[in-house]
């Protein structure tokens, strides 16, 4: 996993609430046994529309996606963050992000950024704005220099900032796990 400290990018805005993981990556692309190449199928059905935001020249090179509330709801498919990362996104910004998606995102180096309603509205209304996701400060810096704070679990943040695999921590708990098994189960 690539470490993430701070990135600055223009945004791509998808002003729709409850974007589900079936939209992010339709189920017919889940018949693979690897994680590779999913960016091609990101939002596959919406991309049929030539006017869809990801098809527009402004989207070129953007690594921050801004979406409506409850982004990533639905299925637990990790193919959703894999597809977003493969396409080139490193952060997703919304007023709220679904639990399983958020959990999957941080394990892969995609930063879930949940901001307050005011900052969210500004971002929705200003597509292409240049913003900075500063993971060290847990701040989203807006073009006018103002900043919106966001919360991220400290452990997930530590792992993201240092490119650490969370499994390494769990593997270090072997003794405690073995002890638990011998007494409780």
């Amino acid at each position: 996993m690539e470490a993430f400290r701070k990135i600055t990018s223009k945004t791509v805005v998808l002003p729709v609430d409850n974007v589900d993981t079936d939209q992010i990556i339709p189920a017919r692309f889940l018949t693979i046994t690897t994680k590779l190449g999913l960016g091609e199928s990101l939002f596959a059905d919406w991309r049929n529309d030539p006017e869809f935001v990801l098809n527009r020249p402004e989207a070129e090179g953007a690594s921050i996606l801004v979406a409506g509330e409850n982004f990533g709801c639905g299925s637990s498919r990790e193919h959703a963050p894999w597809a977003l990362l493969d396409f080139g996104f490193r952060a997703v910004v919304s007023s709220s992000i679904a639990d399983i998606f958020k959990n999957n995102a941080v394990k892969n180096g995609l930063v879930p950024v949940e901001v307050d309603a005011k900052a969210h509205r500004f971002l929705l209304e200003n597509p292409g704005a240049s913003v900075t996701v500063d993971l060290e400060a847990c701040k989203l810096v807006l073009p006018d220099g103002g900043a919106a704070e966001f919360l991220l679990d400290g452990f997930a943040r530590h792992c993201l900032m240092n490119g650490i695999d969370q499994l390494d921590f769990l593997l270090q708990q072997e003794e405690a796990i073995a002890r638990f098994e011998s007494t409780s189960t």
């Binding site: 002003p15 509330e69 299925s75 796990i177």
Partner: protein, 474 residues
């Protein structure tokens, strides 16, 4: 002396599974009693074990089945795969299970079926357990008072390697459902009504516990339908306290405790329900007796109405993005605000999925279809949730009822709920489906899905249009 603190069912489940408590530096390490795996979300996790040269820690706590991408049609014993990719995915699961010593319920074998159907059926799903699977509908198992939740593939790997997961303690949300369901109204209608009430993100960050006299009156099949769709309210899990109904269901099942072990287990399970005076972080109450048959009109499970209600106007939704999502949904569904769903022409009816493919669901649908015919031009697929359900349905003659009516009777699998296996709805077609998601394209690119109960689905099959099933009841 202080009274011991009154605790909720969830708090008890949490406490029982803490290997290492949470600190500011890290989440709690939670022990996982049972790991269910299937062909779609496990291959990359097995690859990770191989890459890191880590053994599968507890093959004895890992159970595999084939369900998501398998065909439901066979030529003799030969499965009719939709393409080489699905075949390769299924073969990969077989190879991985062989290599790592995982018990696999393979296609066609006794015990095989949709992962959330077979766990309970085999008696693997037990009160007090932690159960995970790389599938969001793992919440189904919460119907037994187990803490069960869906995880992504990275966490599938974590459980394979350590039988544990890192978790921050979720909040608790009581959904109290009192009163009896009216005739012709099912658990599916009730959970759709709940999701409409709390919203598709109302459960975010919370574990829902369903309580109240209505829940207590439901069978295990019905309780599973309720807990199954907890994720559609955004919840991290759904729970129902174990009671006599739970114990009666489990007794004698293959992996249920036996002899003295059974008595001890039941005694323990009786200590699980929420203590009097325990507090939930939030609560909502619904009068279940007022719920009518429900149908969805939009592209998420919260966009539903009672069968006799008109489609609401998206302009009435406050926020801009919300209104935009609603009008995009209506456009996709080719529906108009103010109109009724009743009378809309139906192309496909799907009776199946981890929500509604258990025996009681099939019995309900068959009760309406018996002696009647599927309307001309309507394609009806009935897909039992497991080999066991298929066997029992055949014993009762349900397969004959469906076939004689003109429906297709298939082999067990997820089938048209996720449409990975070739069982799909064509672009533009309207499907009445007993599954759990009406997302755009969920049942096939361009497919339009109306979620409903098995009774409402059967009524649509017979009438060829969306109809109130209560009008067909004797």
């Amino acid at each position: 002396m202080n009274e011991p603190k009154a605790r909720t069912l969830f708090e008890k489940l949490w406490t029982r599974h803490v290997v290492q408590p949470a600190t500011e530096d890290h989440p709690a390490v939670i022990y996982i009693d049972l790991h269910l795996i299937h062909e779609v979300t496990s291959p990359q996790a097995f690859d990770e074990l191989r890459r890191k040269n880590i053994p599968l820690r507890r093959p004895d706590r890992t159970i595999a089945t084939m369900d998501h991408s398998i065909p439901t049609l066979f030529d003799g014993d030969e499965p009719l795969y939709s393409d080489d990719k699905t075949r390769a995915q299924v073969d990969t699961l077989r190879t991985n299970c062989d290599e790592y010593g995982v018990r696999l319920y393979a296609m066609g074998e006794t015990g095989q079926g949709i992962v959330h159907v077979i766990g309970p059926e085999l008696g693997l799903t037990q009160p007090g357990r932690t159960i995970v699977c790389g599938d969001s509908h793992t919440s189904t198992h919460g119907a037994f008072g187990a803490w069960a939740f869906g995880i992504g593939t990275t966490e599938v790997g974590h459980v394979m390697a350590t039988q544990s997961l890192l978790q921050r303690q979720p909040k608790t949300f009581e959904v109290r459902l009192d009163g009896r369901l009216a005739t012709g109204v099912t658990a599916k209608d009730l959970i759709l009504a709940v999701i409409r009430e709390v919203g598709v993100d109302g459960g975010r960050g919370h574990v829902i516990e369903y309580t109240g006299s209505c829940i207590a009156s439901l069978s295990m099949d019905e309780r599973m339908t309720i807990c199954n769709m907890s994720i559609e309210a955004g919840a991290r899990a759904g729970l129902i306290a174990p009671d006599e109904t739970t114990f009666t269901y489990l007794e004698g099942r293959e992996f249920a405790p036996t002899g003295d072990g059974w008595a001890a287990a039941v005694a323990d399970w009786r200590t699980l329900p929420t203590d009097a005076g325990a507090r939930y972080d939030k609560s909502v109450t619904l009068d279940a007796s007022r719920v009518k048959p429900m149908v969805t009109y939009g592209t998420n499970p919260g966009m539903s109405v009672s069968i006799d209600e008109a489609i609401p106007d998206p302009a009435s939704r406050g926020e801009q993005a919300q209104a935009a999502a609603s009008s995009q949904a209506l456009e996709y569904m080719r529906m108009q605000p103010g109109e009724s769903l009743v009378g809309k022409s139906v192309d496909v009816v799907f009776i199946g999925s981890c929500t509604n493919a258990r025996l009681e669901d099939l019995r309900a649908a068959a009760s309406l279809m018996k002696g009647r015919k599927v309307a001309p031009g309507v394609r009806v697929l009935v897909v039992p949730g497991s080999q066991e359900i298929k066997r029992r349905a055949v014993d009762e003659g349900l397969d004959r009822v469906f076939r004689e009516a003109g429906a297709e009777w298939r082999d067990p699998g997820c089938s048209m709920c996720i449409a990975m296996n070739g069982d799909g709805v064509a672009a533009g077609e309207l499907a009445v489906s007993t599954s759990n998601r009406n997302f755009e394209g969920r049942q096939g690119k361009g497919a339009r899905t109306v979620l409903a109960s098995p009774l409402t689905a059967a009524a649509a099959a017979i009438g060829g249009t969306i109809a109130d099933p209560r009008e067909l009841l004797d």
